[in-house]
Symmetry: D2
Subunit: 364 residues, 4 copies
């Protein structure tokens, strides 16, 4: 076993649930524990566990056999110990929580904190780095919207679930001659809806990055119907917005707070399609199902690769990075590059053209 300066690390999972968290924990732990002899402290329920000192050492049996399990053996929470802008550390609850984290980090004699999470998690990780802690981040999210990495673990598993749902809707849409609207996750980024929409053969795909015009959508659906197509599938990201809303938001220089009479965007789109086209339209909101279940093989491999790369950084004492996949290589990216940024679908992304080329309506 190699000797390392890093002797003892804490590990936590933070933010929304996501397939692959356990695979990544296992990757970090197996490599750090067996190859480098590093002690692993499991921290419960994200940053909250570190604030409250809810920790336990992880032993071999803890991370044996968890590769295929959904969720996270450590639990998670959406605790954000810093205020959003990170400035007021000393004057508020945020600061007291951050102080508790720093205090417990020292009390536990950690050499580094390994955090598995999304954008919020890495924002906090960066602030903790600035506050003097050693931190390494692993990018997990079904939204695939973390800056600096080509792909996050959890994303392709969610694409699988969403695509399978669209596949199911096809048969029922076909039998009844309907428009089926399916609402998928993605408040700010449309990766999941774009991928699952193409994979599921969606006829209309609406993502936050491309504001939609309801008339274009209806025109497309009516044209399909006139061509004798018996049904249409509309895949819509929960954060999709109309051109009008987008313009309003731009004018006000801020996110337009929508006051909608509909439970969610899926229902709004469906109601408008039905009203304008007269076609029977039904809605499915996929919701939490997108986060659950065993990670797919792609995510298991990706999470394991991130995990072992994190162990290598620990062994080398290279702290302050998020692991990223770039051009098929796992590389470290400085946390300051990642924090506070969002990776949205660029308008010139190859799959946007692909979708248009096969005749998909993107709502614009």
């Amino acid at each position: 076993m190699t000797k390392t300066k890093c002797k003892r690390v804490g590990i936590l999972t933070s933010g929304g649930d996501c397939p692959g968290l356990n695979a990544a924990i296992r990757g970090v732990a197996k490599s750090a524990y067996y190859k480098y002899g590093i002690e692993i402290i499991g921290i419960s329920n994200g940053y909250r566990g570190l604030i409250e000192g809810d920790v336990r050492p992880l032993k071999a049996k803890d991370f044996d056999g968890i590769l295929t399990r959904g969720g996270t053996i450590l639990g998670t929470s959406r605790e954000k110990p810093f205020k959003p802008d990170g400035r007021e550390r000393d004057s508020d609850a945020g600061s007291r929580k951050a102080d508790a984290i720093i205090e417990n980090y020292k009390k536990l004699k950690l050499d580094c904190l390994v955090v598995l999470g999304g954008n919020g998690t890495h924002k906090t990780a960066y602030l903790l780095k600035k506050a003097g802690l050693n931190v390494i981040g692993l990018p997990k999210t079904i939204d695939n919207d973390i800056w600096g990495t080509d792909v996050t673990f959890g994303f392709h598993s969610a694409v699988d679930v969403a695509t399978e749902a669209i596949d199911r809707l096809h048969s029922t849409a076909h039998s009844h001659n309907r428009v089926m609207v399916i609402e998928l996750m993605g408040h700010k980024a449309g990766w999941l809806t774009l991928y699952a929409g193409i994979a599921g053969g969606g006829d209309v795909i609406l993502i936050p990055e491309i504001p939609y015009c309801i008339d274009s959508i209806v025109e497309h659906l009516v044209k399909r119907s006139n061509q004798g197509k018996e049904f249409s599938i509309v895949a819509v990201a929960e954060g999709a917005i109309s051109k009008k809303e987008a313009n309003l938001a731009k004018e006000k220089k801020k996110k337009h707070k929508k006051e909608s009479k509909y439970p969610s965007i899926g229902y709004e789109i469906a109601k408008k399609i039905e009203k304008k086209s007269g076609m029977e339209t039904r809605v499915t909101v996929l919701g939490y199902l997108q986060r659950g279940g065993t990670p797919n093989p792609y995510d298991r491999v990706l999470a394991t690769a991130f995990g072992t790369a994190a162990a290598d950084l620990l062994a080398m004492g290279r702290y302050g990075y998020m692991l990223a996949m770039r051009n098929n290589h796992v590389v470290p990216v400085p946390l300051e590059e990642v924090a506070g940024r969002l990776k949205r679908v660029p308008p010139d992304h190859g799959l946007i053209s692909t979708a248009r080329d096969i005749g998909t309506c993107l709502g614009d």
Copy 2:
């Protein structure tokens, strides 16, 4: 090839979409066509196609390779050509549609009409029988609520989908320490929710046949939480009602028309649990996904067995029956026994005891 008196039959699928329809069509057609040389006329979109004369002969290539496909190659509709009580045949739209069916039946020189559908479909089938047509019915529905048969095709496929969804929720519930409510199909009968609830390890199962008391549910969930259980799953049928509603309905001698401020029962239950227990509660409405996709092997076998048994009845000229599975045997049941009746979960059903025995709360 055996000679039969029955030379020419029409076949239609009616009512909600359901896995196994194509498998059943294939079963009828392969056997009737190859074994008995009967000509098969496919009728589009349920009874509507017969009203409108939208028909085409089915050839071998039409029913080859459809065993595994979801939906129905014939299309379906919820067209009900008779008034609900069937009495006013001569004075209304219902009658004109029924007349058109009878006329087209004769014009097409059909010897029998094979209908694949649920309760509504068989009600109509019985009325057509009374009106002099030869009819044979096959019991399809994901609800399993057709009187006279132990099981309908489509049911176990829907149980698979619903159970897989509950499995997915488990991981996300576990990670976040939550109550997850999942709303499943079943307006009047709780078969699907009972089976999937047990198969998915649901902690609370609410079905229309057992009116619930919200306080019992909350008590059960709080007790679980106090025992250190990190999450709970509540499976609720869309037709579940509270004891209060059930009593109101009984007093008024009719179904109590609920005016709810919630989009559906799942949201209502979740909101009340959250309010009374303080536990974070989330809702998933599974919706149309339960109807879609390929039939599972159980339903493919069942639908095929019903289909070939229907062909045998055709060959023998035994009309006026619905095929049923009774004690593992496929048997014909007279349509008059089936029409207008509903198979609900009896209070002394074995699975009710099973659920209670393993500690499941049934809401009462």
Copy 3:
């Protein structure tokens, strides 16, 4: 909690691995433990664990969350403590093992032994009953060949796996214009191959109960090819035998011990088809995959129902039975009725006719 005379039971799983074992253990344990306050002793690796005294008390956390897990938390073995005929208890190794079981049963102060297994397991259970022990059996096997019950748990899960495999073969067969042979489990009974063969749309289905004639098979395949069918699927049970072998066996009044030059029946059939028909033929032996993975919802419900029914028998002190599903009801069957018998597919089974009706060749 109800008081019962039965205070303490041992539970073991024996024979081949099978989906649903954990679901059944959980069913027994949850009900016996919580409802009746019975202490549960887990016995490792089948009867071997009881011979060697490898046991541990099961606590709530042991059977929490195991509903969906494949395999068995107790481990299993094919240990048969009695000689096949059960007569020579006192003079051989068999007897010493049986003596050890009886001794440990008493030492552990068990009131009953609950065994989950197939035909061999129930044979032993019956001999233990004759030797004075209280025993209750639960019927598990992917082969569905246990006498006295309509269905065993594990069977429908295996049908799912086998059918999915046949579905996969369809696409590759179709693309290459081939005969695809798939060999499924089932030495003496063809239930699995019959169900999966029908569910997967197999063109030829060969089961041990219907000896085959290779020429009939080839004739059927050639006819299909001449009709322009681009491929054929042959589902064969590992215990399928030719008419010649069957006759030889009958003459010798015993199972004809085949000395084959082929690795298994699938290869033999394929080679002969290829030689006689000239059609490219490929083999897949599904093997252990049929035993693995999570139980399907049907088996989870069935295993749970058997488990809670076993707990009820324990509470009532009704020993000496195997639980069975008969005409949709869970009922106890005396072990003496079950022991040493085999449930094979009867020649007049409904699905045999169904298969023939849709044009499937059964090899005869």
Copy 4:
């Protein structure tokens, strides 16, 4: 619709069956047909169809709804119209077939030939290019061994199937305390076994690129057993070779032709493990199942992206390329770069380190 110089293209699928072929055909066809107005001629059964003139125009209904279907609507064959070295075009059968292809290409007035296939297919494509035809290739293979592209379509679908199989084996291995050997496809390249091995948590992974030493494998398995691990999984590529065989092959400057007494490498490895370790060892050969079934969402998206990119090349009249995915971008690669080369797993590939880091034995 844009006007293009390319008016009419032929499309064929060649080589082994592979998920995603239909998705790619649809991608090419939808884009070429609707966007560019190019006429699409479907060629049956790979190059053989072009030799024999077995072609038909593809219409919209031909490529509608095929996105999710496994196999290929065009059929495929392993026809190689050129001799392996491509030199003797004029003197043999190879040449006459090639001549027929060229002749039919001209007779059909094709502006380009789009071929979907693996290494053999692209070798032929290059030779046809040299012979003066316009050709565009799309990289399909479950082996992922095509030079010039980071990934091929079909690969990740096969990884899914293989990983699911390993998942199933886990439960049965666990219950019986066994070594389970699973043999996966890959004669020359180990991508599939490496990915599925890591994704499935394989304890030993053997690929053609890393010759194995049976003693190292046994040592690893025995060590696991001594540590109390109840089972082990060995994933072996069908082309894995021992160090001894590798050395022999090197000496002879050519592939050592193995004369084995075992049906396949999986059986050989299993037998040796059992003999040397005494541990019960079982084999599963996954075989054709790896090629079948619906493409997973990853492959559907990839195949669609390749397909639309091919249509763009057609529209621009840029011929002589294979489409490739490089660093997340679809790019054209000249056929001469691809032909005759093989992409094997490089010894310094990141996943090799990943596998070692988590304690996997790679056999060396």
